[in-house]
């Protein structure tokens, strides 16, 4: 085959989810003459943004204020987020959601035709925009459809990125496999935006889709960019057992109750307020996710949960809401329960348990979405700016993918305009990568992909779950290191060049192991409990030592090294997180 000229772009976006598509449009708007491409391992509308249900937060109603949104975010994050970043985020949020409204997003409405908002966990005031209970779905399709309008935005659908090309101290593109043909090609660019989403699949029981393997995090990590705050992993308190399908927080916001095996609203025993018949913001079922998930574990220890085939569970009760509310506000919840659990929330209790949901940590960026490696930007769940700190507030991340997606697009475009042509030495790197992948495809390894994945799952749940200790983390750390050594010998049983999903699964496994190692190393050194990171051996928050972001760097041998970077505090000095009582 004749060697075609490698394509060269100004801005190359890896990831076609909400963050990636927003970035692409922002880059175009910065300068319509730029050559822009979006590369995604699945068709963009399949990206996992599609599964987000509840909503997106932004201040729009007159009774709300930007400061309130800041405060809810910061206290929700247990003061681990950078307050300057939070302020920009909160300021830019309303316009981003409005922009989406102008692009056609079918937001739910009030009777007068204005955008409706609903309450969400950890928020003092109703400020979550929603499109019934398929918010992420509608946002993603709106963005995708709108992106089709811009002809200069090229797409590489079902191309799988395996490497960042770094030369002369800056990133100049990627190497990717075209799944349909098996071609392995360089795609050069003056700036690259990593918006590859989270990595929930490192854990066995998660709301995340099959494609969420932390690809971008690992790509960045291997290129020398640190991963920030990886120890902070959000569990969502209400997932369906076995499938991990999420029952949205909106179901609690609408008035759903969490019941233990005796039908008792057990959250009242864990410092989350007193039960009221109507939902009270920042209280009981509307407390923040980390606290609810932790209460579940405590309740399990007390013997209040029920044992099922897939671990312990409690009940979510929506019956008292009645069919009309459930059908109008939570139709997707009813559909999911019927299709996947064979129950009807109008008449039945829904079995739920905490499931791994969201990565607060990720590729370390500054407030402009830039990383330490020139030419690499990152946004969305893959990135950590950080506005989510030790615990993300529900409905902040759909907004985050827009705000920081747009920032990444703008800044990457500006960076690209200043760069010269690509360096000449890239071709050798491309050949090396081709050889590496060809060797993988020989199928000479002996370790099974599914086998290694299961061992990783088991040790992550065992050692790095909702509650951790130094011993549990150290043991898992050792295990993951062992898996890292064994994965070199992984067996790819499929030798075909056409849509080889065995090859991609093997590569994804290596990505996940990088993420797993960074998570454990960061968690092991954080001798305190904060937000979603709970150490049974260090139950208190320790601001003196740990009001700092952890940064995991990859050492030449592969193992992580942790450094720290102070958290930026502007107007909200650290205080105790309080839920369950109305302030002032």
């Amino acid at each position: 085959m004749a060697q075609e000229e490698s394509p060269e772009y100004d801005v190359l976006i890896v990831g076609g989810g909400g963050a990636g598509l927003r970035a692409a449009i922002a880059a175009y708007e910065t300068n319509p003459n730029l050559k822009i491409a979006v590369i995604s391992k699945v068709y963009p509308m399949r990206s996992h943004t599609v599964s987000a249900e509840g909503g997106a937060a932004a201040v729009i109603k007159p009774d709300d204020s930007l400061d309130d949104h800041c405060y809810d975010t910061i206290s929700g994050a247990d003061w681990m987020c950078d307050q300057d970043a939070v302020e920009s985020f909160v300021n830019e949020a309303p316009n981003e959601l409005l922009q989406l409204e102008h692009w056609g997003c079918p937001w739910s409405r009030e009777a007068d035709g204005s955008v409706a908002v609903r309450p969400f966990g950890g928020m003092k005031i109703k400020r979550t925009w929603y499109a019934s209970d398929k918010t992420g779905f509608h946002m993603l399709h709106t963005l995708f459809q709108t992106s089709l309008k811009y002809d200069p935005i090229q797409r590489y659908d079902e191309w799988f990125v395996t490497k960042l090309l770094v030369e002369d101290g800056r990133c100049q593109g990627v190497v990717a496999i075209e799944l349909a043909t098996g071609r392995i090609e360089p795609i050069l660019a003056k700036s690259v935006i990593l918006s590859t989403g989270g990595c929930g699949k490192i854990f066995p029981f998660t709301t995340n889709a099959n494609i969420k393997n932390g690809d971008g995090m690992s790509l960045a990590y291997r290129a020398g960019i640190p991963l920030k705050d990886m120890e902070f992993i959000q569990y969502h308190p209400t997932g369906l057992p076995f499938t991990g399908i999420l029952i949205t927080e909106a179901s609690r916001a609408e008035g759903g109750h969490l019941l233990n095996k005796d039908g008792y609203r057990y959250l009242q025993d864990y410092d989350l307020g007193k039960p009221e018949p109507k939902p009270v913001l920042r209280s009981m079922e509307l407390g923040p996710r980390d606290r609810l998930s932790q209460a579940f574990v405590k309740e399990q220890e007390r013997g209040g949960t029920m044992a099922g085939e897939y671990g312990h569970y409690v009940h979510l009760d929506l019956r008292h809401l009645g069919e009309k509310i459930i059908d109008s506000r939570l139709p997707f919840v009813r559909e999911l329960c019927a299709k996947y659990e064979n129950i009807d929330p109008v008449t039945d209790l829904i079995p739920v348990r905490p499931v791994v949901h969201y990565m607060m940590g990720g590729i370390s960026t500054d407030i402009d979405a830039a990383t330490v490696l020139p030419g690499v930007y990152s946004a969305g769940e893959a990135a950590c700016v950080s506005i989510n700190g030790a615990n993300r507030l529900g409905s902040n991340s759909l907004t985050e993918i827009l705000v920081f997606g747009a920032r990444a697009g703008k800044n990457a475009a500006a960076f690209a305009l200043e760069q010269k042509e690509a360096s000449s030495g890239l071709q050798a790197q491309v050949e090396d990568e081709r050889n590496r992948l060809a060797k993988l495809m020989l199928g000479e390894g002996t370790e099974s992909i599914a086998g290694l994945r299961k061992e990783m799952h088991d040790t992550m749940e065992e050692g790095a779950g909702i509650y951790r200790t130094r011993d549990s983390l150290a043991a898992s750390g050792q295990k993951v290191r062992e898996l890292q050594e064994r994965v070199v010998n992984v067996k790819v049983s499929d030798a075909s060049h056409t849509f080889n999903t065995d090859l991609t699964a093997a590569i994804e496994l290596t990505y996940m192991l990088d993420g797993a190692e960074a998570i454990i190393a960061s968690a092991l050194l954080r001798d305190e409990s904060r937000g979603s990171h709970q150490r049974s051996d260090f139950p208190e928050r320790d601001d003196d030592k740990f009001l700092q972001h952890s940064l995991a760097y990859r050492e030449p041998g592969g193992s992580p090294r942790i450094e720290y970077q102070p958290v930026s505090i502007t107007r909200w000095p650290p205080a105790k997180r309080e839920y369950g009582q109305q302030k002032g």
């Binding site: 075209e178 349909a180 043909t181 098996g182 071609r183 060049h497 056409t498």
Partner: protein, 138 residues
């Protein structure tokens, strides 16, 4: 190997199902679909027949009588009964699908599909009744 299979590295050949002529017998709905496509012929035939009938009426009683005689021929009878069946099938499937084309709203209330189809049938019945009445009374 490459020339034999039509595969060259990185240029995989897609597989396309060749459609057998009788692909539609595999599923009832498709048989129904093909049948309805065919009933269009009957609809056209009926329309032409009507026009011819109309002309014969215009051309005076003789032509009309001739026409009637022609129509009472057993072969014509069989053809017309078949055509009637086909036209009925055609109309009924259209009536049943019509609610899909028409969304009728009365205030906030969306008229249910069944009532729209029902309305069509009622209209049909009424018109038939009027014609029948005119015939009997006339």
């Amino acid at each position: 190997m490459e020339s034999k299979t039509g595969y060259t590295l990185h240029h995989p050949k897609w597989h396309r199902d060749a459609k057998p002529i009788f692909w539609w017998v595999k599923r009832w709905v498709y048989i129904g679909f093909i049948f309805r496509e065919l009933t269009s012929v009957a609809v056209a035939y009926s329309a032409i027949l009507m026009i011819i009938l109309y002309r014969s009426v215009q051309s005076g009683p003789e032509a009309y009588a001739q026409m009637l005689e022609c129509l009472s021929h057993p072969v014509m009878l069989v053809i017309n009964v078949l055509a009637l069946g086909a036209v009925l099938y055609h109309s009924i499937t259209w009536f049943n699908l019509s609610p899909k084309a028409m969304v009728v709203r009365l205030g906030d209330w969306r008229v249910p599909d069944l009532m729209i189809a029902g309305g069509n049938y009622a209209g049909w019945f009424l018109i038939s009744a009027v014609i029948a009445a005119a015939y009997i009374l006339g």
